[in-house]
Amino acid sequence: MSTGQVIKRAKYKTSVKDPGTPGVLKMTENKIVFRPNDPSSGTKLDMEFRFIEKHKITKEGSNKPPWLNLTNSQGQSYIFEFESFPDLHVCREFVGNALAKSEDAPKVVSDEQLSTADLQRRIKLLQEDSELQKLHKQFVIGGVLTESEFWATRKKLLDIDVSRKSKQLVGFNNSMILDTKPTSDGRTNKVTFNLTPEIKYQIFALKPAVRQAFLKFVPSKMTEKDFWTKYFRAEYLHSTKNAVAAAAEAAEDEELAVFLKDDEILESEARRKIRRVDPTLDMEADQGDDYTHLPDHGIFRDGSKEISEPQHELYRRTLSQDLNRQGAVVLEGRTVDVELEDPRTVAEALARTRNESIGNTEQGRLDRISQMTQIEDLQTPQDHPFAPLCIKDPRDYFDSQQANAVKTLNDSQAKFDRCRLSPEEAYGSLRKSIYKIKTVGLSDPIVSPEVALMVLNGLTQNISSTKSLGKNSQESVLDRLPFATKEELLHHWVSSQELLRHFWSSYPITTPYLYNKVSKLKDAMSLLYSKLEEIKAARSDLRHQVSLIVHPMQQAIEAALSHYDTDMRKRAARGAEKPNGYV
């Protein structure tokens, strides 16, 4: 690596079976070159490291010769047979370094320090979103914004993309591990339980006592196998529902008793949870409602009814307890992120997470009690600072509205009055029309085909645009416009949003860079403004609808432009005092 290149004698094979061409392999920082000893041989190789995806070597001591196998991204492999293993190791190290370097290399592109991943993500976003692509083309390639400025406002978009990539967390298996059924070979009385690391993890999570016992006993007192055998024996006793037998077994075997008794850790946890319940709630009162201990109450499981036997209460476990515990653990989710292979590490990790959650709950409980039992009437009133809401006389508004309405009404009447004729003239012209049609007859054709086509097209457009009117009146204005106009307007809308966002985020102008940016944005905005005017003028028939949409856009742009103007004026006034630089 330090020398920058490695030259070794080697045989180049295109496949494993290939006898190989002897020659010299020369590896520089970013290239692999193989020159055969026989210059006439065609098996030359000259390739760059960035095409290599992985490399493999044969193990020293195996009966294979020292091979280095390089695979490119297409899956094609290049095999080099070296004269000795030391040669191979030197080369392998070099290849390893070179590959690591070529992976890092593209990270240093352009002034913005973009990783290829970033760049690819951007390209992908642009490809997926044609709207974004249009904007990008318009502003970045049009020179209004720089690449980084354009993406700066879209960090979120990029982030979302990243988070979407992150691996989905695997939750806790929802099946009851307690239902792990033994398999029997049928000949002997032996039953076999199949344990996977996953099941072990589940058992540890569900039963802290087993976990504790495992940590306590396993390497010192018994082997792991013995431990699990004992555990399943206890489980088996439970499943027979024979509490008497369980009690008898427990008396004989101290370790077995651990599994058979109610889990103390669980109990203490439950107690802690109860303490977290609203302190004003009387949990004691609810205990009276528990009737499951009464005879003839219980849940069928495995076809047998659980009937409580008070004398063996200690060794009894009900299905509801099991279900609740399972539910709680599943809801908690996977809290430990370790390899599941070694049961001991899993058990330790689980024990750690359990301990963390025990904090100073007592003080919190007392605080909550005092909060809950507060009586509002006895508290000092909580004064929020407020400003009185000031609404102008609503009559002003109504009156102005009415005045407007009357005005429009008068306008329409005035218009009509203006062109009023004398009744004689009016009736005369009407009579003349009737006479005309009497003499000339009906026009033929009544409608010219061109006009009829126009009418039908117009009607089709009108009807199709009002299709979804009932459901969404918001869209109606835009939908009534011809498709091209609608698209254009939507694009202008997005552009204006983009420009305005950049414009306002550049204030206050503190650097010459921002100053330039703002003036560029201003030019783009005034261009957009005139474009909007053009649309309004072009669609004279839909002028009202178009202006409804265009007006807010123009207002926003006007506000930005006027802000720019006032800011420039201020700047010019100050400029006399501070000729250099921007404030």
Binding site: P423, L459, T466
Partner: protein
């Protein structure tokens, strides 16, 4: 059966006086055995306001030409279809055509089908009469036409058809209107609209004037008819035949233009002005543009004590549904 309703209506002044009523009902009697759900009775209310037509871009003669063709095509669509035309004048209204009573014989000229020459003859008579009526109070200068009158006539006609027997054509009203709304007719028009709604008669409106007509918008909206303002006036026949020729049965399968917005503004009862906001009598729902001590419609006396004490802003105001 055919003669029974005639007893009820003999002497009704608003039917064409020169026609024999028994003849009318005789022609209905054939519906007793053959009538389909797509047989229509189309009552066309045609605006003949001379002030409107003399100032409007579309020539009245052209308009008539389109309308006459349309009426012909309606009659051709179904043998049993029936067309009635009512002229909406400035000072009066009148029936100018009824396909069930007019015998289309002998009047056919070289240039005109019989229907058209009949109608035009009647129209001329009507215009003369309308002008004479106008001379009585010539200085009134009302720009609007008597839409309320023609609507009422149409509804009366339809009522008579309803009572002619269990089998009658499906009636609908088509307003071909151009002159602006007359706010003074608000109450009469609204009453007509509601009675049309009650008798399930849709009012279609084809408004050719410059602005939209709030009355017709409401009429079509309330009765479930179609309001349309054709943008292409030289192709108005195309609109007629595409939109307004569809019978009520076919409308269940067709998508006709829907009005985008309806102007629901009302006119006040006191000054007949169109208002956005006004006072409503809590007893009879009459609308007023200003506060009154007493309702001029039902005579209820409005509470006064509160209004004197409180400021003007607290007076009871009620927004009309707009």
């Amino acid at each position: 059966m055919a003669s029974a309703p005639s007893k009820l209506y003999t002497g009704s002044s608003f039917f064409l006086s020169d026609k024999n009523n028994t003849h009318v009902f005789h022609s209905y009697s054939m519906f007793d055995f053959v009538i389909a759900d797509d047989v229509s009775l189309l009552v066309v209310l045609m605006d003949t306001n001379p002030f409107f037509w003399s100032t409007f871009s579309l020539q009245f003669s052209d308009f008539l030409s389109h309308v006459l063709t349309f009426l012909n095509s309606i009659l051709l669509l179904n043998q049993l279809n029936q067309v009635v035309v009512i002229a909406t004048g400035r000072n009066s209204c009148g029936y100018i055509y009824d396909s069930s009573t007019t015998s289309d014989h002998g009047l056919e000229t070289g240039t005109m089908p019989a229907l058209s020459s009949n109608l035009l003859l009647k129209l001329e008579e009507f215009v003369d009469k309308d002008e004479q009526l106008g001379k009585v109070d010539s200085e009134g200068a009302i720009a609007s036409s008597l839409l309320s009158g023609s609507l009422s006539m149409a509804l009366c006609y339809i009522q008579r058809v309803f009572r002619s027997g269990p089998l009658h054509p499906q009636p609908r009203i088509l307003c071909l209107h151009g002159s602006p709304d007359g706010p003074e007719q608000y109450v009469a028009i609204m009453n007509a609209i509601f009675s049309a709604q009650r008798s399930m008669v849709p009012i279609d409106s084809c408004y050719v004037g410059s602005n939209n007509s709030a009355f017709l918008q409401q009429a079509s909206y309330i009765t479930g008819g179609v309001y349309y303002k054709p943008p292409q006036l030289d192709g108005i026949f195309q609109y007629f035949s595409t939109i307004f020729a569809t019978d009520l049965h076919s409308r269940t399968f067709l998508r006709l233009p829907k009005s985008v917005g309806v102007d629901f503004r009302a006119s006040c009862f006191c000054h007949k002005q169109t208002i956005d906001m006004g006072y409503i009598c809590s007893v009879c729902l009459s609308i007023f543009c200003e506060h009154h001590k007493k309702c001029s419609t039902c005579g209820s006396v409005f509470g006064q004590a509160q209004a004197d004490v409180l400021s003007a802003a607290n007076r009871k105001r009620k927004t009309l549904d707009t």
